[in-house]
């Protein structure tokens, strides 16, 4: 499988805090890569470096290179709008905008200049279908997205991310606020989506990583301790710290 994203020696400082220490890791195309580790280990921080969401954090300094299809994400010439069109993001709390379902999905395409009504209609329908939400909301596209259940809202957020036709989807603990059934629905969805997209997911739920991820990386206090195929990480991890973490001997 091809490497979609290649991170080399990434170091990140928040002020005096060294939040990522020399992280190198390749994210494979059309696969799900999970980042696990205890709170504050840097897994979310690392995820956010991939589409430069850390740009908005004060006193945040990044060194090293992150290549997306061979192009340096942190190059001066990079237009973050285009970068984030390619590398979309879904967050922990479902965060639909306080607008209609339709406008939520159309938000991204509108940023990128799509105004044509018919074109938008098509994108909205396709995105909702891809996120397995269309059947549930097709009769109320113009009602507020805030009226949806938590699980539906999160699938809406995934649909919103899909609407700009990204290559990569980053998910930051997308199911931690959801009930088990909604969680399983999202997991099913991600497994469906990986044929078309490259997916990176931060999760606190180790079972989730073992259920859906092809590759898993374990982070600990800013370091990437171990990275490999998920089945290796969860059956015979090489590093004692990985073993201790996934078996619950510390955390």
């Amino acid at each position: 499988m091809e490497n979609k994203i290649v991170a080399k020696n990434v170091n990140l400082h928040y002020g005096s805090k060294h939040a990522l220490k020399n992280v190198s890791l390749d994210i494979k195309e059309n696969a799900i890569t999970a980042f696990i580790g205890p709170s504050g280990c840097g897994k979310s921080t690392f995820l956010k470096t991939l589409n430069r969401m850390n740009d908005y954090v004060e006193n945040c300094k990044i060194e090293g290179t992150i290549l997306l299809d061979g192009e340096d994400v942190y190059d001066e010439k990079v237009d973050t709008t285009v970068l984030r069109k390619k590398v979309g993001m879904v967050f922990q709390q479902p965060n639909p905008f306080p607008m209609s379902i339709y406008d939520n999905i159309a938000y991204g395409p509108r940023i990128h200049g799509i105004k044509n009504k018919r074109e938008l209609d098509r994108i909205v329908e396709e995105s909702l279908k891809a996120a397995a939400l269309y059947d549930e909301v097709s009769d109320r596209l113009h009602t507020s997205a805030l009226g949806l259940s938590g699980g539906q809202q999160q699938r809406l957020c995934i649909a919103r991310a899909l609407a700009v036709q990204p290559d990569v989807i980053l998910l930051d603990e997308p199911t931690s606020a959801l009930d088990p059934i909604s969680t399983l629905k999202i997991e099913e969805l991600l497994l469906d989506l990986k044929d078309k997209y490259t997916i990176a997911i931060v999760t606190h739920n180790m079972q989730q990583a073992s259920r859906i991820a092809d590759y898993t990386a374990f982070f600990l206090v800013g370091e990437m301790i171990e990275y490999g195929q998920t089945k290796d990480i969860f059956s015979i991890p090489k590093d004692k710290r990985t073993e201790d973490y996934i078996t619950g001997r510390f955390g």
């Binding site: 709008t81 984030r84 905008f97 306080p98 507020s144 009226g147």
Partner: protein
């Protein structure tokens, strides 16, 4: 002590506190009712629609407050036109763009102080700075500029509070999908903040309507009908409140109560309008 749930204790402090709180709320409603009732009682019998249509003129021997009503509306609109962009813009800058935390704190502190200054001081400053130094003289413009400074803290403070209540997740979602910062503010933040911003604007309007001290030496007290809607900006004009003050000073209580009546109607109207608009703009209300 027995452990039965039937041993109901008498909690005296609890009961007396609830009674006290109940009494306080009753009292505040009562005071409001008495004031409005008294104004209605004194104002209604002497009220005549001719007051609303006429100008006070010794030559024509007419008494009326039409120019004051027009001046009041004029000043409201003009002041808001000046203060809203600055206040909202400033709040957006402080909340979304400013990186220096100390600077933001200093500005916020200044704003708080500004809102505590007695209005007569604004009047004094407005008269000397806008009136004399800038050469706008006794005019509606001078009055509006002075009031604009006075209501800036209200608008800016309310906008800031509204911005603070917009979840971080909305910002992340918009930026994460490729929106530029300004696009995000325009399409997500401002619509979500609309109720909060409007609340500030309504409060500010109340302040404008109520103001007398700051206007007496800036916009003046002239009560002639505007000759031209645009040049009127640079002419002197007294608001209802000013006129009320002058009428009381002259002992014309009947006219004073009519003005009070009109003022109360305007204030109630504004409040109702505010409620309506806030509801209409509240994006969080799920409409199905």
């Amino acid at each position: 002590m027995t452990n039965s749930i039937f041993e109901k204790r008498k909690r005296i402090s609890d009961k007396s506190m609830s009674f006290f709180i109940y009494l306080s709320s009753l009292l505040s409603v009562f005071i409001l009712v008495v004031i409005i009732g008294y104004i209605l009682y004194r104002g209604l019998p002497v009220f005549n629609f001719s007051y609303l249509m006429n100008t006070t003129s010794i030559i024509n021997d007419t008494v009326g407050i039409l120019p004051n009503i027009i001046n009041t509306l004029y000043i409201i609109v003009l002041t808001l036109l000046i203060a809203c962009p600055i206040g909202i813009g400033g709040a957006i800058y402080l909340n979304e763009y400013a990186k220096n935390k100390k600077f933001v704190d200093v500005i916020s502190f200044t704003t708080e102080v500004l809102s505590g200054i007695p209005s007569i001081i604004y009047g004094l400053f407005g008269m000397l700075f806008f009136g004399t130094f800038c050469g706008f003289g006794f005019s509606i413009l001078t009055g509006s500029l002075t009031l604009a400074i006075m209501i800036l803290p209200i608008i800016s403070r309310n906008t800031q509070t509204a911005l603070e209540t917009v979840p971080k997740s909305y910002r992340e979602a918009a930026l994460g999908i490729g929106a530029t910062k300004w696009y995000m503010i325009r399409t997500v933040l401002l619509p979500s903040c609309m109720p909060g911003i409007l609340t500030g604007v309504i409060l500010a309007m109340g302040r404008i309507v109520a103001e007398s001290a700051a206007l007496l030496f800036t916009a003046g007290s002239v009560h002639v009908l505007p000759a031209n809607i645009f040049t009127h900006v640079l002419s002197s004009g007294g608001t209802l409140t000013i006129e009320l003050y002058l009428q009381m000073a002259k002992g014309n209580y009947d006219v004073a109560f009519v003005i009070a009546l009109v003022l109360i109607v305007i204030v109630l109207g504004l409040n109702m309008l505010a409620k309506l608009i806030t509801k209409k703009f509240d994006v969080h209300e799920v409409k199905n």
